[in-house]
């Protein structure tokens, strides 16, 4: 029995690897696009550099864009990887016309180097192309009945979340836990810090990236995974036996995108960025589990709006938060890790 079980498991992740590698190509999205009627822009090849989770969505959106009359002569080269790594690659010279990251500091890095214009966030959506929220992913049927943030700190509940020092994306999870406790504690910052302390006492695994945390959780470790809603939907699309809960109070995740200043085809790159806000493109994001930023676009998933939704701006924005919470030399999270680490031995 054990052998066949192990074979099945080996088969399962080989399948996962294959699915990830193929990236959902071949599905026809041309029908989703009505064509915008604008005259074709001169031919160009755009370099798209993005973080890895929206790969399937981008593969479909670029196909759909190339099927419009405006984008008919435009082709793409695409590079996907961890958000921080992609940002650093562009910083050190990787050619890119369009960049998309999982959180704003990766964009700020390029603004500092003058690779992205400082007014990249001047559009009505503040430069964000997709949203999401931090959710609780549980085993199918939610056997431990995890509903609230308080449930995560109960004794015997094993929490999985990536390490906020190795995973930029994991910082959304930390700030969600912090923010809800601050709001519940009447604005007391100490309540937030205390909550994070007890939360990380229950964290049994801290993988280096969000996708590896999902892998760890689906392989059977832990009772609850802190993840983005789009990752939970991705796992369900891949038929993983999981459920997820959108907590009453959680953080709004915002994913930035921009055209670079170094682009050789600014008109084409701007046109692509503009296309991302059209209903056709936003709908593809929605189909892949992202919350559209453009009002009125719907998809196959319900995206309930939590009553206590808050934003990173409520804590002074990412620049202030990075310093205060995630400076490895000394910060709220560094102290919590040290405190827990030394007590665990």
């Amino acid at each position: 029995m054990s052998l066949s079980r192990s074979r099945k498991l080996v088969g399962l992740f080989l399948a996962l690897v294959t699915v990830a590698a193929c990236g959902g190509s071949g599905e026809d999205t041309k029908s989703a696009n009505a064509g915008n009627g604008a005259p074709a822009l001169p031919g160009a090849q755009l370099g798209l550099v993005a973080y890895s989770t929206p790969q399937e969505a981008y593969d479909k959106i670029t196909d759909a864009f190339s099927a419009t009359s405006e984008g008919s002569k435009i082709t793409f080269t695409k590079s996907y990887g961890a958000s921080g790594e992609q940002s650093r690659a562009v910083e050190s010279g990787l050619a890119a016309d369009y960049v998309a990251f999982s959180l704003e500091p990766d964009m700020t890095r390029l603004v500092k180097k003058d690779l992205v214009a400082p007014e990249w966030n001047a559009n009505p959506y503040k430069g964000m192309v997709t949203d999401s929220v931090v959710v609780f992913v549980t085993r199918k049927g939610n056997p431990k009945n995890i509903k609230t943030w308080a449930d995560l700190t109960k004794p015997g509940v094993e929490v999985v979340t990536p390490n906020p020092f190795t995973s930029g994306g994991a910082r959304w999870n930390v700030m969600a836990g912090f923010g809800q406790a601050v709001n519940a504690g009447g604005g007391s910052e100490q309540a937030g810090v205390d909550y994070l302390k007890s939360l990380f006492r229950n964290v049994s695994v801290q993988d280096d990236s969000a996708r590896k945390s999902l892998q760890t959780f689906t392989s059977g470790k832990g009772d609850v995974l802190l993840a983005y809603e789009n990752e939970a939907i991705f796992a369900q699309q891949k038929n993983q036996p999981i459920d997820y809960v959108v907590p009453e109070s959680t953080i709004l995740i915002e994913n930035p995108a921009a055209v670079t200043r170094t682009t050789k085809s600014p008109a084409q790159a701007e046109a692509f960025l503009k296309y991302l806000y059209e209903p056709a493109a936003q709908k593809i994001f929605a189909e892949n589990g992202y919350r559209p930023v453009v009002p009125g676009v719907t998809g196959p998933y319900k995206f309930p709006t939590p009553s206590g939704l808050f934003k990173i701006d409520d804590f002074g924005g990412w620049t202030a938060v990075s310093k205060k919470f995630f400076d490895p030399a000394g910060s709220i999270m560094a102290d919590i890790q040290r405190g827990n680490g030394i007590s665990v031995g």
């Binding site: 192990s6 930029g168 695994v205 801290q206 280096d208 040290r338």
Partner: protein, 264 residues
């Protein structure tokens, strides 16, 4: 004293070797060390003595040492079995030894997680413990000692052993006095490679370790975290310490091997 005359062929060969090593090894490693010392020795020392860095380096060196020692025994044994024994499927086993080299280490991590993780089909749960880190390192370092000892064992003149046997030496005495001294240089070389590989391993350990600071976070993953928090100087500092440890261990093993060779 006149310099020894070097003929043109040798000069060309040495020139190409030095250039090649400089471009591929010396300059990049020098750049790492230079980067590490960029902000002065005080910052360097601070970066490698933070509680996280110290714990990660300690775990990495200890796990690598365990892995090196296990490899000495198991690697030599496997090489022995492959050269001296005949059994069905020997060719298959021989081919299998190199597979850990061929597999991307992150896939190795995935496989190990499925076998030794939660719900282990074998009933052995090692993931997210220091034992899991050791198993991952054993997996990726398996070929080194086997593949350095095997060819030496194949070339070993059997007549020496027969002569020893005819003079009444026991099997153990033959192994210890005749076979082992011939294998020592290869065993040490393989062990050194295995150790150096183990202290720098990232892919295989990152999943199975669970990356818990102070508990299972290895140095390579700690370095990754430093880069991810935009602290490249700190990352370079920890990397320099690893390089220094590797250099020390390689030197120590070389000296030890010479000492053993002289005594044998």
């Amino acid at each position: 004293m006149p310099l020894p005359r070097v003929d043109k062929g040798t000069a060309l060969g040495v020139g190409v070797t030095v250039l090649w090593l400089s471009l591929l090894v010396l300059i990049p490693l020098g750049a790492v060390a230079w980067r590490a010392g960029e902000n002065g020795m005080g910052d360097f020392w601070d970066a490698v003595t933070t509680p996280e860095a110290a714990a990660a380096i300690k775990l990495t060196v200890a796990a690598s040492a365990v892995v090196a020692i296990v490899n000495v025994v198991m690697g030599t044994l496997i090489a022995w079995v492959l050269v001296r024994d005949d059994f069905p499927g020997k060719g298959f086993v021989d081919a299998m030894i190199d597979l850990p080299f061929a597999l991307p280490t992150i896939v190795a991590g995935l496989v190990l997680l499925a076998i030794y993780g939660a719900n282990s089909p074998l009933g052995i749960e090692l993931a997210y413990t220091q034992a899991g880190v050791v198993v991952a390192l054993l997996f990726v370092t398996l070929p080194f000692v086997v593949r350095t000892v095997q060819p030496v064992l194949q070339e070993l003149d059997k007549e020496m052993e027969e002569a020893a046997a005819s003079l009444g030496a026991s099997n153990f005495a033959i192994f210890r006095r005749v076979v082992l001294p011939n294998l020592i240089p290869a065993i040490f070389a393989g062990t050194a490679l295995a150790f150096a590989r183990a202290i720098s391993e990232f892919g295989a350990t990152v999943l199975i370790s669970g990356n818990l600071p102070f508990k299972t976070q290895v140095a390579a993953v700690h370095i990754f975290g430093q880069i991810e928090t935009d602290n490249t100087t700190g990352a370079a500092a920890v990397a320099t310490v690893l390089l220094f440890i590797a250099l020390l261990v390689l030197l120590a093993l070389d000296l030890l091997q010479r000492w053993v060779a002289r005594r044998a």
